[in-house]
Each structure stands twice: as C-alpha cells, then as structure tokens.
C-alpha cells in the first residue's frame, strides 16, 4: 500500500468512533499492540525528549526501504507513534519525503502535534523525515 492509501485506511478506521473515549481507547490498544522496542536501541541518541513524555525512535534501511521502530512511556503517545510507523515504515525514502502526514489532523488528533504539548511527537515526525533524507543521500 502507498502512504496515501494507508492514511485513508486509518482515517476510515477512526471515522467509526463517535465518542472521544472510544477513539482514545483505540489509541491505547494500538499503543499496547505496538511491536516491542528493541532495548539495544534505547539510547540517548534515539531519545526525543518532550517535557511531558518521551519518545524513542530507531530507523534502518533494508532493500531500498526505510523501517522504523518506536516507543513512548505514555501510552496515548505510543498509540500515535504506532500510527506513524504504520504509515511510513516499509516505504521508500522518496515516498516518505514526498507525503504529508495529513491523517493526524483528519482523525482529530492534531492537538497532540502542537509544539506546546511537548510530548516528543513533533520531534518524532521531524526525525522520521530526517532518517529518510539521510538514507536517500546514502543511496546516491
């Protein structure tokens, strides 16, 4: 699936929730289901420290595609991390750099990406793109 298709799929999934409580319950579920973070990568250089919560992010390249592994100490943040990874992991660097992550806004979670929340998510999106940029540079 392309990033765009995945984003549409996520928006579709979230459209079934009428109550904010259900939406957050689902985020918590996604957070709990996220593939465990490999502790060998739990390093300071992979830590995106928000004032309120922490995010860890590791990325690697395999067969022309970028893969991400992420974690957070706050489960709601971890749920959003899971969504980002679902949208971007396994895509080419070019696709990652060309696509805007519009789904966050569409599923009503934009507030979590405001810099004032300082939960590490803004830094994470930036870092995901930087990884893609770095891998792209390495390819040529």
């Amino acid at each position: 699936m392309t990033i765009q298709e995945i984003q549409e799929e996520i928006v579709e999934e979230f459209s079934s929730f009428d109550e904010w409580m259900d939406k957050y319950a689902y985020l918590i579920e996604l957070g709990n289901d996220l593939e465990p973070f490999d502790d060998t990568y739990r390093l300071d250089q992979n830590l995106l420290d928000g004032c309120q919560s922490k995010v860890w992010l590791h990325a690697w390249m395999d067969d022309g595609k970028v893969y991400y592994m992420g974690d957070s100490d706050a489960i709601i943040v971890k749920g959003i991390v899971a969504l980002m990874i679902r949208a971007l992991s396994g895509q080419t660097p070019e696709a990652i750099l060309d696509n805007e992550l519009s789904f966050i806004d569409k599923i009503g979670l934009k507030e979590h990406l405001s810099p004032t929340r300082s939960n590490g998510l803004v830094a994470m999106i930036k870092q995901m793109r930087l990884f893609a940029l770095a891998f792209k540079a390495k390819q040529v």
Binding site: W20, Y24, A25, Q52, D73, A74, I75, I76, N119
Partner: protein, 406 residues
Amino acid sequence: MSLDIQHIRGQFPILHTEVYGKPLVYFDNAATTHKPARVVNKVNEIYHTLNSNIHRGVHYLSNQATLAYEEARKKVQLFVNAPNSHEIIFTSGATAAINLMATSFGDTYIKEGDEVIISTMEHHSNIVPWQLMCKRKKAVLKVIPLFENGELDMQAFENLLSEKTKLVSVAYVSNSLGTVNAIPEIIEKAHSNNTPVMVDAAQAVQHLNVDVQELDVDFLVFSGHKIYGPTGTGVLYGKEKYLNEMEPWQGGGEMIKSVSFEETTYNELPFKFEAGTPNIAGVVGLGEAIDFVSELGLDNIAAYEHELLQYATARLNEIEGMRIIGTANNKSSVISFLVKEIHPFDLGTMLDKMGIAIRTGHHCAQPVMDFYKIPGTMRASLAVYNTKEEIDKLVDGINKVAVLFG
C-alpha cells in the same frame, strides 16, 4: 465565618466556560489562579481612565497613576504586615524577585567559598538563580534533604548551617508536594547562626496568613498571578537594612538620583530596585486582588481549603492504585499523585477531554521527582472557588480512565 463559595464563583467569569462541551473543572491553581471580574475591571479602568507614566510627570494623569500605584504598594505592605511600604519592591513575578535577590544579595554579600542553603523541594525558580550566582561568585549551594513523606529534614538543615552560610532560601509551601515547611523554625535556626532567610511564598500567600514581622523573615517573594491578580506582577519584601546596602539589580530610569558618565547615584528605596516603567495597571490590579483576598479573610480561605484538601485526599485514596506523593502532616492546597502505572501525560490528556484541568509532569521541580524516582506526577491544586462536587468529578474521571488502562 464560612464562605459563600457559589457567590465567590460568580465573580469569576472563566469558571462558567465550557471546554469540549463540558463545564470547566479547574485544578491548576498552583500554576495560576483565575482572576475575579473586579481585578480585570480594575486593570481595564487604569488603562481607560488613568493611563500615564508614574513618578515623573507633573501632569494630572501621571499624578493619579502614581497615587494608584503607590496605594497598591501600601496594600501589599499591610497584607504581609511589612513595617514600611518602601520595603515592598514590585517585580514581574516571584521568579524575577528571586533573580533580583540572587544578583543583588549575591553581589553585595557573597564571596568565594560562601554558602547558600536551599531545599530539595524548591521550584526551579529558587534553584537556578542561586546556581548562576554561585557560579559567578564561586560560592557553594547546599541542599536540605527530604524525608519520604515530603517534609524537610530539620536536623540535616541544622547541620548544614555554618559560618560560611550567607543565606537560606526556602519555599513556604512546596508547589509539587503541598508541604507547608516549618518556616518559623527555619528562621529561628538560621538567625541563631546570624544568617538571613528568604522565603519563596509563591504558593503560600493565597492560602495562609503571612506576617513578615511575626516571622521575622528577612526577605519574602510572591507572584501576583497566583493570588488572583494579573500576570506579570510580583513582590519582593526585604528588610530595609539589607535593601539599603544591596547593589541595584537592573539599571535604567526611575532607579537613579543622578547620572553622569563619571558616577551615578541611586534613588532611594523602593525605586532603587524598580528600573524602567513598571507594570502599572498590573500592580494596581494586584492591589485589587489583595483586597479580594483580604475581604474573604485568609483564615476563612485556609479553613475552607483545608476542608477541600481533606475531602480530596480521602476521595482520591478510594481509587485503586492511588499513590499520593507528599504526605506531610502540614499540607496546603496541592495534591500530587500517581495512579497505578498510568503515565501522567495519559491521565492528564484524558481528564482534559472531560473538561478537567490538572497539571502533569515534573512541575518545575525535577529534584523532587528524582528523589521519588518518578518522571512526574498528576497534580490537582486547589483555590477558594473549588468545590467538593468538582473533586467528585475528578475522582469519577480518574476512575473512568483507569478502567481503560485495566
């Protein structure tokens, strides 16, 4: 006298707003309190009818504005029972007042190898200015340790005192734990060591009676915005004998008597420490906020808030997995807590969606969090307009969220 809380609530328009379609429940009062309409109206009135610069004009408005500003100083003087109104210095907040202290007191009295004592439970505002000063002066910062319940180790404090100790600077009430420190005892011990004491009363003056003469405290600071007043206002009280000797902090207009390129002589107190045009409307608004508090009576406020705190503590303790951080015998207005393994950010986010405002995180007191080996807490902090019904809503909200986390 018991307070009419509904009548008090009626004076705070913001308490009747809705967030996400739900009535606001505001428990972030230690960060800032809301402002009664009379304070906001007073600030408006100043801009609409008295706006002018103070202390320097011969014209009518300037004189009127000066009178209003100086009347506010008089109100603060009476409020903390300072001997003289010129011992009241207006600043932009408690943070600025402590920075003033660290710079002016430090420049005047502290030399290499001297020591300043603070405590583990200080807000960053009462840590960092002293660290900066110690770095400049090659002085040493000493820290009073905590007991597990959030009280200061007074024996350890006594042991820290020596002929090198030049100042003790501690919070009256901890913003992260709610502990009311034994300030009279701290002052007594410090004074018997000939050491002056600065008290950070940012979390105290809105909750309990503070009398600087009765305490015999040498310096005391607080913020206006935490006592129902405007943001950008704060107070430093200092004993005249120190303030007269202390070097000025900032230079500029108002604080000078005469300036030439060879020599500048400074103005008298309090103007020596009030360089530049101050927050005139804000300070007058702070005077109004002090009237608001004084009319309710701090003893009445303290009694009601104590009842709320007891109720909140009991109700929160009913929640499964509740851990209250800070269980000192003498507490005021602040409850820090954790619920099971739920991250404060998660609980805070979910409560926010229910219209309940609490603070999450380290509350600018990271050493406290390090002491308890936790990343942060949820903090509910009370004001006189809070109710038991609101506490019930908080407890219900936490229970709802806890279910989701299993």
